[in-house]
Symmetry: C2
Subunit: 352 residues, 2 copies
DNA sequence: TATTAGCACTTTCACTGGATGAGTGCTAAT
DNA sequence: ATTAGCACTCATCCAGTGAAAGTGCTAATA
């Protein structure tokens, strides 16, 4: 009995047929969003089976929790578990058309600043997939100081300009208790540049106190305050963030027609907290991740899937990108797109 | 006959009653979004009139194009012209609660950077009105150079850091034909800082060529290239932009329940072009502006109103803020909120 | 023993035809 | 000038109906 064999060896050769049917069912459902019935599936499968036979198989699949029927006389629809099996073992990915790859490549290499690069990548993802594209701001754990500069804005505010990794500039305004003259600041900057140029920011912080001791003796304690300022600057780490493009694409899908639901999703995008948490998991996994429906652990996204891939510099993961769309997205197309885009972005970000 | 007198002197004392009824009708409609009928209006007006009388007046108002009936047996709904008359001459604004004013003030003064200030202002507008808040990035026409700095990133890329107006920092990466050494750049920066600190950027550009002539003679033409770089930098003006907060608020309104419409509006927000054009008009007008429905000239916004006010520094308009919401927004509450927020933001931005 | 034809059954969907209610415009009375 | 009265119009709700789609089960079949 097919029912028992499927349970016993869900991937075994005995059920090739059941799996093939599951596959075509999901492909069909992804294509046009309608529940798929036995008759349609029998035709679509190309397996010369009668609808009745298909029905038996569908019944088994339903019992396994891979598909379900919205109501008695509708066709079947994949469940989260169904999609999971689909992407894990049934999916045949469609490689990207080389024209598309080329397009992304072109767009990315003509870009200069990191910030703009991120936006472009997000836009590319969104455009090509027709879903929402998302790219996190890279968090460089190796922040090699190239140049630091202090600028006196007013009596108790100092602008700190940090150039790191030969690419990025960070501006931070900090408040101080006492007034520093521009020449004092200049001195401090010179010292720091001489001492720490090319060093990782975290290293600088560690060594700062040692240097501070020496400096105090040598320079009448003037540097003491400056150093503590520097420490302040280094402590203020940038909070994680992302660039999201094309959320309006989601509005085209029927499963998002519920305004309340949609609003909750958009609010989650603005909130950023939950979304970032999902993306974080992809950073940790260091590989592609696919969250289907409520697998993400967030109720709001229970009709959404998230496909992510980390991007790296020097073999270190510094960010994540991906797409967000309805659970019935075209995984076979989307997965390579996300994958390739991550690789391309990694390549472009590679320090020269 | 009331019909004729209304046409002849639309603001005359003869029609105080018609105007009062129009006012209460609109107020009522703004309150609960349902077409208002003669019976309800008769009660609401507090004027001791029979529904029949009210009907006659409504008939007149409809003929004047101030209200219209969605269908025969529905009540009346204000037209754009009706809203226009309402805000122009019938509206009694509700001053903000001082607690709210205080809240905005607190939020704004605890903020440091200009960028963050803009975001906060936008968020405040959105929160208090329950609509979408929008604030343009200030465009300072007086960009007084405080400090310029060149940094060699690679053989043909230079990072330019501009500090202007003692507040803002602008980073620009430019590509050059030939390689400049850091010391060359340092020289150039020193020269520029000595010569132009405190000067307006546009002035600098004008005088740059004169200085260039002199410099060429004096410095063997090394400066020539640097100067042209500087010119390049100054030419690249920042493109206008805005911060929009709370677009999801719009999804609560029944008139936005049409997904297509909503999507078009959101797309317009992302496009930015049309929205910026509307905001520009408020810059030029130098005062509060209210665009009701299609008055904005954009089809997508035909069920939206935009209330804007410019904000200034030193009596010069440098940006616009406002809210976007459905045409039936609570103008009496919204108008003072936008007005006050603009004034508060102006105050906070005042250079020290 | 696996497959299939046949059939009764269920449920959605689209449509229909009142019935209801809200609101209007007109007319005639005040 | 105002108002009561009334016929009329539309949207909305509801129940009912028939068609379409699809299922599960049973019995026949290869």
């Amino acid at each position: 009995m097919s029912r028992r064999s499927l349970t016993q060896s869900p991937l075994g050769p005995t059920n090739e047929r059941a799996q093939a049917l599951l596959k075509t069912l999901i492909e069909r459902y992804i294509r046009d969003g309608q529940p798929v019935g036995s008759r349609t599936l029998a035709k679509d499968s190309g397996m010369d089976l009668s609808p009745a036979t298909v029905r038996n198989v569908l019944s088994d699949l339903e019992e396994l929790g891979l598909i379900k029927a919205p109501h008695t006389s509708a066709g079947r629809v994949p469940t989260v578990r169904g999609y999971r099996m689909f992407v894990d073992s049934l999916l045949t990915v469609k490689p990207m058309r080389s024209a598309e790859v080329e397009k992304i490549k072109q767009e990315l290499i003509t870009d200069l600043s990191t910030d703009h690069l991120i936006s472009t990548a997000s836009a590319m993802l969104s455009n090509i997939t027709g879903l929402a594209g998302i790219v996190t701001i890279p968090k460089r754990s190796i922040l090699r100081l190239q140049h630091i500069e202090f600028l006196r804005l007013s009596e108790n505010r100092i602008l700190v300009i940090l150039v790191v990794n030969g690419q990025e500039v960070q501006n931070r305004v900090i408040n101080t208790e006492r007034d520093f003259s521009q020449s004092e600041l200049q001195q401090a900057a010179n010292l720091l540049n001489a001492e720490f140029a090319g060093t990782d920011l975290t290293h600088i912080r560690e060594h700062l106190f040692v240097s501070m001791q020496q400096a105090r003796d040598a320079m009448h304690g003037i540097m003491h305050n400056v150093m503590s300022i520097t420490d302040k600057v280094l402590a203020a780490q940038q909070r994680p963030d992302y660039v999201l493009v094309g959320q309006t694409n989601l509005m085209s899908y029927a499963e998002m027609s519920d305004m309340d639901k949609l609003r909750q999703i958009f609010d989650a995008f603005n909130q950023k907290r939950d979304i970032l948490h999902i993306l974080d998991q992809s950073i940790e996994a260091e590989g592609m991740q696919i969250f289907i429906g409520d697998e993400s652990g967030y109720q709001v996204l229970d009709e959404c899937s998230v496909v992510t891939a980390p991007y790296k510099v020097n073999d270190e993961v510094i960010g994540v990108l991906g797409v967000i769309g309805p659970t019935r997205m075209a995984y076979d197309r989307v997965i390579p797109i996300v994958d390739v885009t991550a690789k391309l972005l990694s390549a472009v970000l590679k320090p020269e």
